[in-house]
């Protein structure tokens, strides 16, 4: 009697396992396809000229040099703006905020995180672009910073939450002030996690296109300053991929592969930093 239905149970177990495997395969398939497709189509265009030349009219060999530099510049600027704000807010949220404030702040951060990026672009257009009377690297960087901040707040808070409470208690019990506890004992223990958070935010910002459309705008030439329109890799890919010219479409694939490679490298770096810590 004890084993009644055992075969059915085993069968159900196996069926469920297969179902989960299928779902996982279904989830991974598109990713694999993107990687394969981008590699196959992008690799032929991987030439030195692609990285050094400006975009050129159809018929002349061009590249995305300015877009790559532009992307690095905007994202670098955005990180410089967003990192201190995001990390400090995350520290406040995790270590200082009273429970009730923290709850509100966390909720607001979640909303912020969920704001459609096109709206971020519009907001920056309405404020920065209009008041500066033109598209600019600054406007692009500010909209990317706006997107990075909530990511940074969340990861910073999460990384700090992983530091056991007994580390804080140990420091307090030795007569460390609350601020000494945070800055001398908690933050050093979380350094790698915090860097990971920044790297992941950078990776996210690199691929953003929508907020750049009417802020950075794009530019076919080398950058002359931060107050003029600037090229960015995702913008250039968008432009070329939607063009009717096969040469441009091929370049869009190479651009996509470049972007993808940078993002993969950044993620690998983040993974390497937090290996064995179960952080990412």
């Amino acid at each position: 009697m004890k084993y009644k239905g055992l075969r059915l149970r085993k069968w159900k177990d196996r069926a469920f396992f297969v179902l989960l495997m299928l779902a996982t395969a279904l989830a991974l398939f598109p990713l694999l396809q993107i990687l394969v497709e981008a590699t196959i189509r992008g690799v032929p265009g991987f030439k030195v000229s692609f990285f050094t030349q400006l975009p050129a009219p159809v018929g002349i060999v061009g590249g995305m040099g300015n877009a790559i530099v532009g992307s690095l510049l905007i994202v670098g600027l955005a990180s410089a703006i967003a990192t201190p704000i995001g990390v400090c807010t995350g520290i406040y949220l995790s270590e200082y905020a009273p429970v009730r404030y923290a709850r509100v702040l966390r909720f607001l951060t979640d909303i912020w995180f969920g704001v459609p990026t096109i709206l971020v672009g519009l907001l920056v257009y309405g404020t920065v672009v209009l008041s500066m009377k033109g598209f600019s690297a600054w406007a692009g960087a500010i909209s990317l910073a706006f997107i990075m901040v909530p990511t940074l707040i969340r990861t910073t808070e999460r990384m700090l939450a992983l530091i056991p409470a007994i580390v804080r208690e140990g420091a307090l019990a030795l007569g460390a002030s609350p601020t000494q506890t945070v800055f001398l004992f908690v933050l050093p223990a979380a350094t790698r996690g915090l860097i990971t958070g920044v790297v992941l935010a950078v990776a996210r910002a690199l691929g953003e296109t929508a907020p750049l459309l009417f802020t950075a705008f794009g530019n076919n030439f080398w950058q002359s300053g931060l107050s003029s329109p600037i090229a960015a890799l995702p913008l250039q890919i968008f432009l070329y991929a939607t063009s009717p010219y096969p040469v441009w479409q091929a370049q869009a694939w190479t651009g996509a592969l470049t972007l993808l490679s940078i993002v993969v490298v950044l993620h690998a770096f983040a993974h390497f930093l937090t290996r064995g810590e179960g952080l990412s």
């Binding site: 009273p98 007994i166 208690e169 140990g170 420091a171 307090l172 019990a173 030795l174 007569g175 050093p188």
Partner: protein, 250 residues
Amino acid sequence: MGQSMAARQINAFYSRTQILHDVSLAMNANAVTAIIGPTGCGKSTFLRCLNRMHETVAGARMTGRVVLGSTDLYAMDAVEVRRTVGMVFDRPNPFPTLSIFDNVAAGLRLNGIRQKDLLIERVQAVLSMTALWDEVKDRLEKPAIHLQSGQQQRLCLARALALEPAVVLLDEPASTLDPSSTLQLEELIEQLKDRYTVVLVTHNLQQAARVADTTAFFLDGHLIETGRTIDIFTNPSDTRTEDYITGRRS
């Protein structure tokens, strides 16, 4: 030298829940006072009131006074109190990023001691006192988290002792240790009372019987009975104490 400590009419709360009810207890200088009682009786909370760690938890508050010698600890700066009243926790908590040496020196550095030779001297002294020196002297620069848990706990004790506190609070210090590490720690506690006033929270009755001069029994946030350890264990005056130490359910 240790100084005697007295808690007077301590009431402690977490949010609206009252954990301790009007607890007054004298803890003699250069003696070990053990606090025993079932889980949730408030013994750890009481200990945390003694070095003002209780108030670091959000929503926690307390009333009453704690006096060390003739000083009211609740009239002092909380940070200052914790430099005078050291604490070891129920789980070893060495600072994960610091080396063995830096863990022990952490408290000294927080107090502004920077001279290398002075730091080395003090670190060696407390590591010897906790029977760790011979075990770790060749790897002081290695991360402390690579030590065994018994060694980690003795390191945490050394870290607390480095500040030369008057009182050492031990919150179930052996609860995660194996029997031989526990024994070693108990021997250390015996020696500690030469220099310090020791308050030991433990759920291990044999441990209290072995090392404590005075034992206090807590139940449901009340101090039921306190007295010489031998009296508490052989001739308790309250039936609730007797029920607890004989393992009977009340």
